[in-house]
Every structure is written in structure tokens, then in C-alpha cells.
Amino acid sequence: MADSTCYHCGDECGKSSVQFDDKDFCCNGCKTVYEIFTSNGLSTFYEIEGKAGTTPNEIRQKYDFLDNEEIAQQLLEFNEDGVQVVGLSIPTIHCSSCIWVLENLNKLHSAIKVSQVDFPKKTIRVTYKTENFSLKSLVLLLGSIGYEPYISLEEYNKKRKKVDRSLIYKLGVAGFAFGNVMLFSFPEYFEVEEFWLDQYKPVFRWLMFAFSLPVVSYASQDYFISAYKGIRSKLLNIDVPIALGILVLFLRSTADIVFDLGSGFFDSLTGLVFFLLLGKFFQQKTYTYLSFERDYKSYFPIAVTRLKKNGEEENIQIYNIEVGDRVLIRSHEIIPVDCTLIKGSAEIDYSFVTGESDPVLKESGEKLFAGGKQLSDVLEVEVLKSVSQSYLTQLWGNSVFSKDKASQFQTLTDSIGKRFTIAVLSIATVATFFWLIVDPSLALNVFTSVLIIACPCAIALAAPFTLGNMLRIFGKYKFYLKNTNVIERLAKIDTAIFDKTGTLTTNQKGSIHYEGMELTEEETALLKTTLRASNHPLSRSLYDILKSNSIMTLEEFQEHTGKGIEGKYNQHSIKVGSASYVGESKSNPVTNTAVYVSADQDVKGRFVFKNTYRDGMSQIFNELSDDLELGILSGDNDGEKAQLQKVLPEKTKMLFDQKPGDKLEYIKSLQGKHKVLMVGDGLNDAGALAQSDVGLAVSENINVFSPACDGILDASMLRMLPKFIKLSKRSVRIIKMSFLLSLCYNVVGLYFAVTGQLQPVIAAILMPLSSISIVVFTTLATNYLGKELKNLES
């Protein structure tokens, strides 16, 4: 039994499996989903991909705010005549079974008309009739089958932004023009003296001119804009020579056909723009379902329940909370404001704020900070500060959150672009002066030829293709970067700073050890039996480590939510829970979560849950210490300093008791001399992540949580980090090699240009040839690097 996995979600069932229909389930939730699916003819779900389900969470009243029409209206895309359309983001979508079942929602409820999944974005659009149905019922229905939608303040605030498809249009226009112009210019490549060809030359030429008009005026406008911006801020970026090249190509070609000097370079012009846009398109790969811009808004609920003076409940928007309001916080809701606990026992998970996942117990009268998640029952709290002024949200007032790292970083391409532009302009001038003396009639021809042939198409393509491909390869290994710019920045870093809790430690398999009077065998058995009845996560992990085989039938069992549990058998009783619950008066100030045990009213001792360090941590540090300076910034006390010093390289700097603001300042102070990589996980690292040159968030589950950052790294892949950094450095080397390669082409081209023999056909061959060879070279080289990752993984 212990080895069986859940038929629905594939998790290990452990000892508490539920059997139904000859199948094992890990919990009742999974069983219920199975029942819903099979009874509605949706059992194919399990055939498309086995064990692909998700355990549903209990959501109950969490979505009551959707009854508030004003709030619901903001979320709806369309609402008229009893039909509503809503787009919801569902982070748990992960396989084809998910797509199938979500697109068959209409089988589960007749009011649902159509549902369509966008897999890469992990969203679903549902059209439904409002008769006997509502947004809330839809959300609850989705929740009940394990696809709880993610509705956040962020979503609520954002204006329906239009999808930007302009790049696809531009690519289409350029490709369309390129193909046609190629065909029209083909006859003239051979320069055959043929009567009819000569007769119709002007027709073909003007057609080419017509096709290249939209390319210059529409498809390539980004390059002109970027070049103009660059020149205005006195920066010669790579777009300056490109824009210059496009402009000269067009003017020279037009002049050629107007004065009947030749067929012009329209084919090269359209081809150039097409290839450039292709590079841009390739670079544009984004992980749309991941958000790299999250701040606290993504995690806060949209609305909360406020208690009116007369005891009535009402749902209000979170921004309308005022100081002094009484607010209800339900189980698994996030506390949106700093407040004082009035009623109920709080068990707060502050992992969003601190990265520390073990819940903290609070008594009434104590202060609760915004960002914590209530785990047990309902709380009544009094608001101390409004949303924007809470401890956590204040951090976002810091100016680092409004700066754009990518725009401040000078990419390799841009730094080359500057030298390149200067070189090309000087060659063009020298050559023109030379010809002005030797043969003035050729001077203008040479000047434009140089600018045309030197148009750095291949250089501009090297970085997008190398980095774009690298981005995809990293993505395969669960290392998701915000954009290609991050790889270049990653290649430059010389210092790496790590957060401790949550980043280097994991709560997945925390070690538990016991302190206090030894428990007798009988007590252990009773304790285990009592724990068996509880579903609390701490009980479950404690249950798993206790060694006792005798299972008894309890005479009495009581669960006091937020406090503890009690079991009675044979006149013995045992209590497990918080210090105050079991009667321990002095709750020792420990940083770790502890569960206290008392037998027959005597306090016996406590189980302390400790985080463990991730596998291979010291190996990661040793590998990194070859090239980088390392450091640890922790919000915890220095209790584990000695232990860390033992396993980590000697030079590793360690700083403890760092508040979010301190972390930010520390990174800032380093940046005078260093390029800093910050690796963190919680919102408490958010400031440091934003300030650092590259901020990476380590996450156990990439869909659930990560603060604003440049990249998200799946926790299981942390050991690959040294390799990722190394490969980033090598990709930059690939780009440099491609620059050399394309310079070779340019030298050949410049020979023709400077000597005044540049024919359209030479440009038409040289330009695509250089572009394609760069694309092939970079793709092969990056795939070769990708292979190394594969070897490392296996």
C-alpha cells in the first residue's frame, strides 16, 4: 500500500490512502474529482495522460467577493443579455489532459457554452449563461476539479491590454515583399540582352519599388525610431548603421531606376529587413505564463470581508479598507494590511514575506503583518494601516523598482555598433574622397555602395539568435529568463549573493528532532494514533517519522484549530500543539517551528522542525568560488553560522539579521566595484533582486510564487546554476565569434564597394549568405552548449 500512487494526481498515497472504484487516491479531494469526472463521462481525462490531476484545495468562502457585482464586472470581458465571457488564469494547467477536461467544461454544467484553453499562457476563456450560474459558481466549479483560478489585485487593476501583434504584421509585410521583389528582380540578374526583357524593365523595376515602399515605411520603422532615439541621446547603437543602410539602399535604388542606371537594390533591401525582423521575432520568446514583474499586488486578494458596526458582513475592495475597520480573514486568505488580532487563533505562514515557510502562531492582541497567509480558522482583525502603507508594501516605494535594468545595460551588439558605425563612416568618406580625385563620376556610387554593403545585418542577427536559442535551452532545464538581455548580464557578473532561508534551505524534507523527556512506547503509540486523525501538515510529517506500529482506536479525539489536537485512550490522554495549548508556560524563543507534546497534563517536550540545506549546496558554492566572490545574506539570526562556515568555501561572506532594506543597501554598496548576482526567493529579497545586476528567484513551484526578478530558477535545478553562468559566458563568446565571421563578409563586400564594382546581384548574394551563415553558426554552437547541459543532467 505504501508504494501506491494516487490515480488522480500521481502523488504517493502514503499510509492514508483512500480507496474507491478499485483505485487508490491520496486524499478525499482527489477521489471527489475522480467521481465528478467519471460520472460526467469525462473519464478519458485519465487516458490522455495518466495521473495528471491536481488535488483540489478547499476554497469555500474565499471567493465570496465575486458576488459583489462591481468587482465581478471588472473581471468580465463581456457581459450582456445573460451571457458572460471571462478570461481566467489557471496556474495548474500543465498537460493535454488539462486542456481536454477544461475544454469539456460544458459537460459539467449546462450553463457553460464554450471554454477555450490557451496552454502557453495557462489561461482559459469561458462563455456561459448567467441563468442559474455566475462567475462565482464557475470559479468554484473549477476549484472543485483542481483548477483553481488565480485572481489577484494585479489582474483587477490592469487595463485590458491589447495584444501586440505588430511584429508579426511587420514580418508578414517584409516577407511578402521580399518574396515578390526577388521574383521580379530575377530576370535582370542574368543581364541577358533580350528585346522583350529590355522592353518591360521599367515595369518590373517600378513594381519592385512599389513593394519595397511598405517595407521601408512600415516594417522597418522600429529601426528608424531606435536609431533616432540613439542619436538624440548621443549613443551610436547598432540600429544607427542599420537605419542608415536601409535609407541609403532605398534612395540609391530609387535614383537608379529613375535615371535608368540599374535595377536597384530592392531585393537586398527587403531581404535585409525580413532577416532582421526574423531575428527580432526569434528573440521575442517569452514565458507568458510566468510573471517577472510581480509585486505584492499579485498576491493580495481583491476584496476582503468587512464587519459593519451592526455585525453585518460586506465585501469591499481592498483599497477601500480604512484604519480601524474590522476585517475577517478566512482560512488560506492573505492578510492584506498590518493589523491587530482581535478574535481567533492565528497560524500565519509568512513565506511570501520572509521565505520561511513554517507557520507562526499568534495570540489575540498581537500584531499581524500584511503578506502572511492564515492557515487555520477565521480571524477577526482590526486594521492598523491602509494597504499602501503596510510594512511589506512600503518596500515597493523604493526607486529601484521603477528602473529598467535592460535599458541601462549596454549590450555587446550596441558596443560593437558604435565602433562599427565610426569605422564604416570613415571608410566611406576616405573612399569617396579618393574617387572624387580619381573619377568624380563614381564618387557617389562608391559612397552609397559602402553604406549598403556595410549594413550590419549579420552582426545584428548574431545576438538575437544566439541568446534566443540559449533562452530556450535554459527554459528546457527549468531556468526561465525574462529576456535575452539577462544572459549577457549574467555573463558579466563577478559576485554572487545568496539568501539563506528558502533559497539554500528547503522545507520539502525538513528534519525533525525531539527535545525533552523521552516518551514511553505507549505514549509514542498514542501520539501516533492521535496524529493519524489530523490533517494538519505538521501532524502529517510528524506522523511519518514516528516509529511505532501499534495502532489503537481512540476513545476520544478533539482537534482545536490553530491550537492543537488531543487524543484519549485507556484513561491516558495526549496533547500535541502550541506551547500554550499543552500547558508549557515558557515558550522558548526559537527560530524554528516547534510542536509541544504533553501526556496526561505533563509537558514532555517538543518536536523541532528544522529546514535542511539543499542537496549539493557546498558543491555549488565550491564550483562558483572559482570565478566569483560569494556571500550569504540572511534575514535569520546567526545560529547556523558555524555550520555554514564548515561546508562553504572560506572566503564566503556571511551577513545575518538583514532586513529587506538592508539587503538592498548591501547589494548597492557592492555594485560600486562589482557586478552582482542575487539569488533569493521571498518578497523580503525583492529589493535586493531589483537592485542587483541580475536577480534570480529560486522557486519550488514556478507557477505559484516568485518576487519581481530577471529569472526564475526551479529549485530542483539550483545545482546547475554554476553551469548556467558558465554557459552564459560561452554564449557571449559565440556572439563575438559571429562578429568576426560577419566582419569577414563585410571585408569582401567592402572590396567591391570601394572599387566601385558593386552590382545589385553581388549585394543580393552576399547579404542573405552572411545572414544565413550566422544563423546556422549560432544555432549549431548553442545547441552544442545545450548538449553539455544534457550530459550534466543525466
Binding site: I48, W100, L108, D118, F119, K136, S137, V163, V203
Partner: protein, 69 residues
Amino acid sequence: MSVIYVLLAISITVAVVFFIAFVFSVKSGQYDDTYTPSVRMLFEDEVIKNKDKSNSNKKEIKQTKSTNQ
């Protein structure tokens, strides 16, 4: 040889028709999600029909849902 005008006109018209089709397909969002349709097209009507059983169960589910609320 002036037939070449006709040929050119025809070929350009065909090309432009395809171009317009492309623009429309982009506009209608066909290029927004290039993955899901590839999975979707492989699904058939796999819903297992079990009329009387599913109908009676459906009602039950609606009830469990309402208790959730």
C-alpha cells in the same frame, strides 16, 4: 507580349489575396496561441456516453457544488 500585364496583374492579385488572408488570420488571434490547437485537433469526442447514469449523477454534483458555496 502585352499579355505580361495580365499575368502580372493576376499573380499580384493572388499574392495580395494571400497577404490579406494572412493579415486577417493574425487579426483574429490565430497566431496568439500556436500550441494548444495542435493538441486540441487530436481530441475526438471522447466523452463516454452513459445517458441515464450520468444524468442522475449530474444532479448530485450540482448539489455538492451548492453545498460548497
